[in-house]
Symmetry: C2
Subunit: 405 residues, 2 copies
């Protein structure tokens, strides 16, 4: 069943009804031109909330606090800073995370337990709480403040990442919008990436979590920039029900429409993160079809999109299918070499596990564009998966050789 989704022009996290946001420059971030580094998104009424968080064993205390608060099922606001990650700072980290949420709660006159706090940026440095205290008090929240918040959460990002869709369900019209950041340390299972989503649909909490986890698995967990999973990765969604209608639950008629809207927004944000990978010049999409299981399709697509050698070849617009086959081979997915077919930009260049003659100049030309698609057909079963990543450039190395020094 396909649902009609409409992309909203300049859609962002404040596109759904009843959400306000704003941002300010507190002085934490000194290394970019973009002078916003602290912001808040808030709903006019308490929301159901769901979240997925980093699997790294070294976690920011802010993540630990948010995980605990999300289990209550309710939240109303999120305060976010960029520049410093509040990670690897010992016990002070939890004290600061709690205070940061308290400051936002006081500023908005909310119950502190309904406020989440996220931090992204350098590790190992304590949050400059004096700046955060002064900054939070300055944040003005408005109904079109989503774009400013989107800018404030960026670190090494070079582009804004924000989208919103509207969809109809149960006779009502709903909006789901979101913002994201992330361009380095990005890899499956939540990397230095943050995404915040909001909807005015009345989504029941258990279904909200189930739908979010599923969408994250086929979007943010399928992108890779450099294979590193950070200490702070989080995807958080707030649903305030401001657009009315019946509660959307796992079995309800509107569930499928909500799932699709959530999938589309998560995939759109994830693709932008991959495209904006540090030093990247191309978005790479790898689809694996014909796998025996979805899990096989996923690990194969991620192995190919993550391979340093494949990424370097794509940077040079080099149809080096040997490296693609090697990555497929070590991915762990079940395969029969003699059945594998490979398409680069829809041109078949391998069949039955062997290269076939193709017009190389044309393939090199399509690989020189800003988006490249690889498709592998394992010809073993019916499962598929898609992963996104970027090329590996000399600029990536230069950039990451001199990040702190």
């Amino acid at each position: 069943m396909s649902v009609e989704l409409k992309w909203l022009e300049k859609g962002t996290i404040t596109s759904p009804k009843g959400f306000l946001a704003g941002a300010t420059y507190s002085g934490i971030r000194t290394y970019t031109e973009d002078k916003l580094d602290l912001g808040i998104v808030s709903s006019e009424v308490p929301c159901t909330v769901a979240g997925t968080f980093t699997t790294n064993k070294i976690k920011s205390p802010s993540v630990v606090m948010n995980q605990r608060r999300v289990t209550s099922g309710r939240a109303q606001a999120v305060v976010i800073n960029s520049g410093i990650a509040n990670a690897c700072v010992g016990e002070q980290g939890m004290t600061d995370a709690l205070e940061m949420a308290d400051l936002a709660a006081k500023h908005l006159d909310l119950d502190p337990e309904l406020v989440l706090a996220c931090s992204t940026g350098l590790i190992g440095v304590e949050l400059p709480m004096a700046l955060i205290r002064a900054g939070v008090a300055k944040v003005q929240l408005t109904a079109d403040g989503g774009h400013d918040l989107g800018r404030a959460i960026r670190t090494t990002d070079t582009t804004d990442k924000e989208f919103a869709v509207s969809f109809h369900a149960g006779g009502k019209s709903y909006v789901l919008g979101g913002i994201a950041k992330g361009s380095g340390m990005v890899h499956p299972n939540m990397a230095t990436m943050l995404a915040f989503l909001a909807t005015d649909a009345p989504v029941e909490q258990q279904f909200l979590q189930e739908a979010l986890s599923k969408s994250v698995d086929s979007s943010f967990n399928m992108i890779s920039v450099d294979g590193d999973t950070s200490t702070s990765d989080s995807v958080i969604i707030l649903a305030n029900g401001a657009a009315g209608g019946d509660a959307i639950t796992s079995g309800s008629p509107s569930a499928e429409a909500f799932r699709q809207a959530l999938d589309e927004v998560c995939i759109a944000l994830a693709r932008e993160i991959a495209r904006d990978g540090e030093g990247a010049s191309k978005l790479v999409q790898v689809t694996v079809d014909g796998a025996l299981s979805e899990s096989d399709a996923r690990i194969a697509a991620r192995a190919v999109v993550s391979s340093t050698l494949v990424k370097a070849a794509i940077h040079g617009a080099d149809p080096n299918w040997g490296r693609i086959m090697v990555a497929l081979g070590y991915s762990g997915a079940e395969l029969d070499e003699s059945r594998v077919a490979l398409y680069i930009s829809d041109v078949c260049i391998m069949e039955d596990g062997r290269p076939i003659p193709y017009f190389k100049d044309a393939v090199v030309l399509t690989m020189s564009g800003p988006e490249i698609s690889l498709r592998l057909d394992l010809n073993l079963g019916n499962a598929s998966a898609t992963a996104w990543g970027c090329d590996l450039s000399e600029e990536y190395v230069t950039f990451n050789s001199a990040y702190t020094t």
Copy 2:
């Protein structure tokens, strides 16, 4: 129990008694200055043999043939070409692998079943058998031909990798020597790397395989250049017993001396492969101490040495300990953040999971040298492991963006 090992000057695979080798230029390899691309190592008498091979599901048919022949427990010669890998070429690959071994057997007047054949280089291109037929017939084997063979197996390598040690056991003096190649597509579990080892010790086959697997696990399987495991990786050892003495078996008094000699030669060869990683300018050694289990220590050391972000930081001589902690955190090893200590070039820069003040200029200076050591102490148990890798340079990307086009 420590055994006295003596490194031999200009030691190589023909240093042990009764081994001959030689190489020629057959014309397969056109992309390097070094005009040797085909060679053979042979023992004067049949040997016990052991091998470890790539875990990639896409394997060269040569590897499949060798695996089968090694299970017989006996071999006498190995013929090797560089330039073309004999992988992803369909059924022709097995036909060519068998013929290549047959050609060497005829040339040396041996039973073909006692000959192994290895190929390394480009994937997806059939072996030019006319060149190989003419080439094998030209190979002259001599007692000091190991160095030529070592040069012939190189592809993108920029240095020779050959070592030999002598050791005493059971009143006899033995020699164990080896050669290796590999500089790209190198990662734990056998990457585009080949290593050939020979000893004149009378090592019983079952113990030879057991000792080889163990040594490979703590040497070749602990190096990473780019995370990619190739279709052809193999480590093969021949033991001809030419130096006499009692058979060395698992429980015999000489077993430990043999194990140590094998460990040392494998680690020396593996370190040279890591040091010579494509575009690399530094050898990186990562030791993890205080882990709960050896398996934890291994995965942690490998995660840190394989991290693209850590490798880029090391290239820039940047003590970016945050990235090291992040890699440790996602490695999967059991850890307690508040106990972790980190040393860069023996300078402690983190204790109890938090950065401590250190003289940064001194650390940056030591990181600017050709070898860098990182040590993580998890302070949880007694297990340790060491992994080796290299930095990630702009040259690596440039090189790998334009390998085939």
